[in-house]
Amino acid sequence: MRLKEKRTDEPFRQLNGSSLLKGYQFAFIDEGAKQEIRRKILKAVSIPGYQVPFGSRELPIARGWGTGGIQITLSLIGHEDILKVIDQGCDESVNAINIKRFIIAVTGVPTTQDTIEATIIQTRHRIPEEPMKEGQILVLQVPLPEALRVVEPSEMETRRMHAEADYSKMWVYLYEDIVRFGEISIGARYPVVVNDRHIMDPSPIPRWDIPKLDRAEALFLFCAGREKRIYAVPPHTSVKPLEFEDFKFRVEDFKGAVCSRCGRVNTFLDEILHEETGEKVYLCSDSSYCEKGLLEQRRPNPQDPEQDRRDIHATFPHSNG
């Protein structure tokens, strides 16, 4: 069910309320930059989990706010793509909206909130709950690409550690946590081993999302704009979180809490303090998944695919900016 394409003729008119220069080329960054990013993506995909340095360009969006993810998206996106952008799992997050505005303004590519429909999904800190399929690309925004930075501040030294697969410092760090607290202190950004060779930082996704990386069907691309690194997990690649035989990897425990909106239990939940009552309320972090859950609840005929399509179309109207 393809959404109609819509092109924006005056890209920057709406952006700041002021008249900026017109005439930027498709996808803003120059061809040379795109070519370099594509070359580096190919190398990254060829060495799963290894960080490839690249000449990160400056964008009108600040460093630390997604310039890496945006550069990957801009280098790959074409007129046939459908874009979804989320932050903390939510399509309407201020940051996601800002990024979407920019990408739409320089490409005119249609957008969607539906995970299944999107061809490229740019995300900050979450992997969508619905499993992605072959041909889809998830672009993850990365603040700090080096998993070993927590045990070693020097880049030259962490390069050596990766080269020699000398990861002892990382293992000791985890071990010391267990001895001290009976629990590993790393919450999000939990280190994983990719293709049985490189330790990788999966970006600040919760541990909940880490199993989704392992032998998936979709392609995962990671990019840190400020730190200038690209890395990748191709489909059908092994991704294993670091764990000990007697201290296994553990995802977040919501203790049976349920989304108070759609009723699901098997999603990552946001803990929210109610504005008025102050009591704890749980909501799905993945907002579009929550919408679908709500739809399921309300549907009169649970097995009707036609109704499905109508409902989805109504819930996720064609939105451009």
Partner: protein
């Protein structure tokens, strides 16, 4: 429902932008003209051009105006604009002895060929607020200029016309064999040959150890305060450079390119730069000691930055320091204002998912601690 509203986030973002603009224009004062900023806040323009990495005084003035004086934002705007400009070519290397000097001093010698030319500097002014400036007007300005020019007469000591260019102090030191060979600090390629190619940090990734061309570029684009902090740490004792300013110059450098048809060099314009050459303590290479040199160069008139650059250049060449100022990776990773400011501010973005994950860990760890305490009590 908190920062990430179910719907309406888009509106909030747009309105926030509008409010920002409104804050700047709501007052009763006359709108600032970019010409005013360019002429009367020229140090600010120079700083922003340097950190924005784009020599464009009008655009820098515009950025300063648009950002309402937030210098990180202004430099950021210039950088973002720079990204969109096509790269037409590269200028030819330009020896700075051809600089059209407006200021030129040396701390190493009392007097130097060509003389100490103080130029326009605040160095010896008394930092007393001039309250007359609060009541400014074009008429008053005319009077001020008349006052300033009143007693200027050519004296016998100072020549009527100053030369356009001046010899370099370090050339004199070199002639005497007191200064290290100029290419000493240049990174050598694997086979020992000197590498003269330039790594363009705006187009290629920076990896460590970085060649000197990349290092100098990164510092030339660096944030003045950051560079000052690191250089100061070295001067104060977390380092060994003990600098003496061999020469500090401010002036205009011609920009030359190779003519596309004739192949000959021709000048397309000139830019104002500040150059600092700092003499550091002597090193013993091949058993024969000489002074070493640190070099700094940046857009516009910005002596703090040029001097700091030169000290850090020397510190990095030496490599050792009691602090971090000689650590190339540390210095180059932390002096870019656009990067550091962006990352600092990114912490304002929603981080509640990662926080949720941390909460989960902490709650479990607290439970562990409680259980351990209970076990201890039971044992007793």
């Amino acid at each position: 429902m908190g920062y990430v509203a179910v719907k309406g986030g888009r509106e909030a973002v747009e309105n926030a932008g509008k409010l920002l603009t409104y804050e700047r224009i709501k007052g009763k004062s006359e709108p600032l003209q970019t010409e005013q900023i360019k002429e009367q806040l020229y140090f600010l323009v120079d700083k922003v051009m340097g950190e924005g990495s784009l020599y464009a005084p009008d655009l820098a003035a515009l950025a300063i105006k648009q950002s309402a004086g937030d210098m990180f934002e202004a430099a950021f705007m210039l950088r973002a604009y720079r990204t969109t400009l096509p790269r037409r070519g590269e200028s030819l290397a330009q020896p700075t002895r051809e600089m059209r000097v407006v200021r030129r001093i040396s701390a190493a010698f009392k007097d130097i060929p060509g003389g100490q030319l103080l130029g326009a500097t605040s160095d010896y002014t008394l930092r007393l607020l001039d309250f007359d400036l609060m009541d400014d007007s074009p008429v008053r300005r005319v009077h001020m200029i008349q006052e300033l020019c009143k007693d200027l007469e050519p004296s016998g000591v100072v020549p009527q016309h100053l030369p356009d260019t001046f010899p370099k102090v370090i050339d004199l030191l070199r002639k005497e064999g007191l200064l290290l060979d100029r290419l000493q600090g240049q990174a050598a390629s694997g086979d020992g040959k000197k590498d003269y190619s330039i790594l363009d940090v705006t187009r290629q990734s920076l990896t460590f150890p970085a060649p000197r061309s990349a290092q100098m570029q990164a510092m030339a684009r660096g944030e003045t305060g950051g560079l000052l902090l690191l250089a100061y740490s070295n001067m104060r004792g977390y380092g060994d450079i003990h600098p003496t300013i061999g020469e500090l110059r401010v002036g205009y450098l011609p920009i030359k390119i190779r003519h596309p048809h004739s192949g000959r060099a021709y000048t397309i314009g000139e830019i104002k730069v500040t150059e600092a050459e700092v003499i550091a303590k002597f090193v013993g290479n091949d058993g024969f000691p000489k002074f070493s040199l640190g070099y700094g160069l940046c857009f516009g008139h910005n002596e703090t930055k040029a001097i700091s650059m030169a000290v850090l250049d020397r510190a990095i060449q030496t490599g050792e320091s009691k602090g971090v100022s000689g650590n190339q990776e540390f210095v180059l990773s932390h002096i870019d204002g656009i990067e550091s400011m962006g990352f600092c501010h990114h912490y304002k973005l929603p981080h509640y998912v990662t926080f949720q994950s941390d909460l989960d860990r902490l709650r479990r760890a607290q439970q562990e601690a409680k259980e351990r305490a209970t076990d201890k009590v039971r044992e007793q």
